[in-house]
Amino acid sequence: MELEGTQELNADPQTVWAALFDRDVLERAIPGCETLEQTGETEFAATVKLKVGPVSARFKGAVELSDIVPLVSCTLSGKGSGGLAGFARGAARVTIEDLGETTRLTYSADAAVGGKLASLGNRLIKSTAQKLAGEFFADFEAILAEQAEPAPVPVPAE
């Protein structure tokens, strides 16, 4: 299954690049991410809860960043086991491009799934994956925007 997309982000390339390697940002932006632990400089262990059609599963897996060309591109690869739901593995090449005011992020991913996830049909999985990618970038951008503004005054807890 191949996925491709681009996203224009309201931030400079340095901010985008740093956010891509920021555990806290990733944890908040990855849809369904329950935990994300940094296990090495470019390695993470993740637990992600996902629902694909009628199958919902908690994936445990490893994420690794490689082929890093600072401020230009990197490859994000991962594999996870979702128990009964099956497994998923894939790699995405992420490229960023300075557009002056904004930064364009382009990704091209190749993913494979197995077990129930696969048997439910690529059609369903692809649309879900595209939806998840959309959610990721919406959250990612929101976090970037948040960081660009001064921190809001904390509201006292009730």
Binding site: L84, G114, A118, L120
Partner: protein
């Protein structure tokens, strides 16, 4: 035995040949069915399976500790715990010379061999709790290279689909007549084609279901099993779990469709029995729809290259066929996965006078779900290939497809006839069927309409497909290969004290109306109405042992068994009545619930009176009188090894050349199944069969990706034929009873499926042929039609 035993069917059999509704239909419609799924026993546990998500891999670790602690879980089994209970099974038979297959056991041991292969079994108080626990099993599988494509699997350096295989070739055979090469050398015309037939599966309304109940106190194993072959499973459970056969009872209650899918042995059913033996508690397993797709057998999956030689007049001289069929990692047990391909190469050209033939079959392992016998085993492939080539030849020779067939069908007066592939036909009726079909469909008018519509840009096509169907198989089918699969059946018929009749018989009921047909036959032997005959099936403790229902043998062999049992009891009743009435039994007969005078029909005494005297007042009978009102009879087919049937189908389609969508407009079948016992049920069988033939021709396909993952294993993506897509199906009959039996009935269950796809394929090619397009792959999806048209 009385001399009347060879009396043929006549007016004295008022219910044979009449339409009677299925006995079970009212009960099922009222929601009163009793399926295995409905069974709940005290202390019963529910099973769920952890399956391999990969098509091929090595099990590194299975951690079940969290699952074992999950709420409601009673036990978690892996291969190490459970497999030692079971003698492994191997799906080979001796008459398929040199065939190989790896032995199988309950759960995957070191390697997983298809996506869906069961690895661990969880037993819990409810299925939901068992499924929840499955989520907690940590399965570490090192993914290996899967063997996915059959042609690639045959390469010498190809990875093997299962451990221990020398190659991925399960079986190979070649059938050949001496002059086949000469026939091609001197042929005026040769037509050829490469065909692909996709995988599909049964999608029964009721999925596979089993409740195993081992009583450690008595040593009795009772298995409630949604199957068509309870005796076969009684034998398997006894042998593979080392139990005395008499202590194994298999009960098949209502079964919601089977179609061949439910007569194979599956890991899950065997594991369920093993778990019950181990725990001493009832265990239930019901496949859900998702796991059905990755564990029920699949069907077909053939790639066929074929050519046909003809003389200048269009006479078929020979066919040369190469069939490669892909069967999964194992051959199924106990019938093998070779029978399908074997029938493909033997049924090629079956309706025709073709003198020469070469058929090569290669059966190949791969890492997918097993394929095996499914309704119309091999027939749709042989029929589609043969008929596509006949149509190609007709186009080449400028002959009408009907004329082309008329020139080549085996003439109705040419029997007995032996086909080029070695099949012996007792008596078939191809010419009568062709002629009847032509009238039934108003062929000439349809052709005129087709030509007229084509002027307006409407592309309609007409496809014709004669067929031969294998029914009533004898022991040559499986028994000679060493399989403990019975070719005979048994019936026990008794007259109750109140003059009603009970018949316990080994053929089984899966919704097709077996019990109704048996009641009609027995009723006529005993002079009662079918409603007065209670038929019991599907219980190895209460019915005699027999082959049960498969390969279109229920009516032909089961019916003959019932007839002979009924006549035996008739003889006993008349002998007793003769003594009571002081008449010669030869002057007596049974009719309308009475012993009557054979000549005048005058009533002499009610059957109820015979029952009363024999049961409650045997003391009033003359000395030495035999008061037995129970007769047991077994029957094994003899004579021809199979009772072949024949028929012809036609399909009318309209192809939208812009979208590639094929609309089925109408379908015709003329069928000769010998003696028709119940015309309503025969037509139901034909219609259902046609739908099951059209499904894979246009819609149904199990799709796999290059890593061996099935990618449409749910009813959201797998397309089954629905009522709105199906055409009206018009049916006509020719009746040529077999002389091998008194009843004269042959089978009919697979006839519809045998040729429906071939007729549709020819119809689509007839529609798009004028545009220079041809399609040789099923299902004929819109995309494939558009590709054939060169639009994509």
């Amino acid at each position: 035995m009385r001399s009347s035993d060879t009396r043929t069917i006549s007016a004295r059999d008022p219910h044979i040949g009449q339409a009677h509704r299925r006995e079970t239909a009212r009960r099922h419609l009222a929601g009163r069915g009793r399926f295995v799924t409905d069974i709940a026993l005290p202390r019963m546990l529910h099973a769920a399976f952890v399956r391999s998500p990969m098509a091929r891999g090595r099990i590194v670790e299975i951690d079940t500790s969290d699952a074992a602690q999950s709420p409601g879980v009673v036990r978690v089994f892996t291969a190490r715990d459970l497999n030692p209970l079971c003698q492994p099974w191997t799906g080979t038979l001796d008459h398929f010379a040199s065939m190989v297959s790896a032995p199988q056991n309950l759960l995957a041991e070191d390697e997983v061999l298809w996506a869906g292969h069961p690895v661990a079994m969880i037993l819990a108080r409810t299925r939901a709790e068992a499924e929840d626990a499955c989520e907690l099993v940590m399965l570490d599988i090192e993914e290996g290279e899967a063997c996915v494509d059959g042609h690639a699997a045959l390469a010498e350096d190809a990875v093997r689909a299962a451990p221990g295989l020398d190659s991925n070739l399960c079986f190979q055979t070649v059938l050949e007549t001496k002059a086949v090469d000469d026939a091609f050398a001197c042929a005026a015309h040769v037509v050829e084609g490469d065909f692909v037939f996709g995988r599909h599966t049964a999608v029964t309304l009721e999925p596979r279901a089993v409740v195993a109940d081992f009583d450690a106190a008595s040593g009795q194993l009772t298995v409630h099993h949604g199957t068509q072959t309870p005796y076969q499973f009684q034998d398997i459970y006894a042998r593979h779990f080392a139990l005395p056969e008499s202590r194994v009872r298999v009960i098949a209650p209502d079964v919601g469709g089977s179609f061949g899918m439910k007569l194979h042995l599956y890991n899950e059913e065997m594991a369920t029995v093993a778990a019950s033996l181990q725990l001493g508690r009832p265990v239930k397993f019901v496949a859900d729809r998702l796991e059905s797709f990755v564990s029920d057998i699949h069907a077909r999956d053939h790639k066929v290259s074929a050519r046909m030689a003809l003389d200048a007049e269009g006479t078929i001289l020979a066919m040369d066929v190469d069939d490669m069929t892909q069967i999964g990692a194992f051959s199924t047990y106990p019938r093998t996965s070779v029978a399908e391909g074997n029938q493909v190469v033997r049924l090629m050209g079956a309706p025709y006078k073709m003198p020469d033939y070469r058929g090569r079959l290669s059966v190949v392992f791969q890492n997918k779900v097993q394929t095996s016998q499914y309704r119309a085993v091999g027939h749709p492939i042989a029929c589609a290939v043969t008929e596509a080539l006949v149509d190609k030849a007709a186009v080449k020779l400028g002959l009408d497809p009907i004329e082309m067939r008329a020139r080549n069908l085996v003439p109705d007066d040419a029997y007995p006839f032996v086909s080029a592939t070695g099949y012996s036909f007792e008596k078939l009726s191809h010419e009568a069927c062709l002629s009847k079909l032509r009238d039934l469909m108003d062929y000439d008018a349809l052709r005129a309409e087709q030509a007229e519509l084509r002027q307006k840009g409407v592309y309609r096509g007409i496809g014709i497909a004669p067929f031969v169907e294998i029914t009533n198989p004898g022991a040559a089918f499986y028994g000679v290969g060493g399989a403990r699969i019975s070719a005979q059946d048994g019936a026990v018929v008794r007259l109750t004290p109140s003059g009603e009749v009970q018949c316990a018989i080994s053929v089984t009921e899966q919704g097709q109306g077996t019990e109704t047909v048996i009641s009609q036959i027995v009723a006529d032997q005993l002079g009662v109405s079918p409603e007065q005959v209670k038929v019991t099936t599907g219980d190895t403790d209460t019915t005699p042992s027999g082959g049960a229902t498969w390969a279109c043998r229920g009516a032909g062999i089961g019916g003959e068994t019932a007839l002979r049992a009924g006549r035996k009891l008739q003889g006993q009743i008349l002998a007793l009545a003769g003594q009571i009435l002081q008449s010669d039994p030869a002057d007596l007969a049974l009719a309308e619930g009475h012993v009557v005078d054979a000549n005048s029909g005058t009533r002499r005494m009610p059957l109820a009176e015979i029952g009363r005297i024999a049961t409650y007042r045997p003391d009033t009978l003359p000395e030495g009188a035999d008061n037995s009102l129970t007769a047991a009879q077994h029957f094994a087919p003899s004579g021809y090894p199979f009772d072949f049937t024949n028929g012809i189908q036609a399909s009318l389609v309209e192809v939208d050349v812009e979208t590639g969508i094929v609309r089925l407009l109408k379908h015709w079948v003329v069928e000769d199944c010998g003696r028709i016992i119940n015309p309503l049920l025969v037509d139901e069988q034909i219609r259902g069969g046609v739908v099951q033939g059209l499904g894979p021709a246009l819609f149904e396909e199990c799709l796999y990706d290059e890593t061996g993952q099935m990618t449409n294993a749910s009813l959201a993506d797998y397309l089954v034929p629905m009522a709105c897509e199906m055409p009206d199906i018009v049916i006509g009959h020719v009746e040529t009873p077999t002389n091998d039996t008194i009843l004269g009935a042959k089978g009919v269950g697979e006839a519809g499926t045998a040729a429906a796809g071939a007729a549709a394929l020819n119809a689509v090619n007839d529609a798009i042929g004028p545009l220079g397009a041809q399609i040789h792959q099923t299902p004929m999806t819109p995309l494939r039609v558009l590709k054939a048209l060169g639009h994509v």
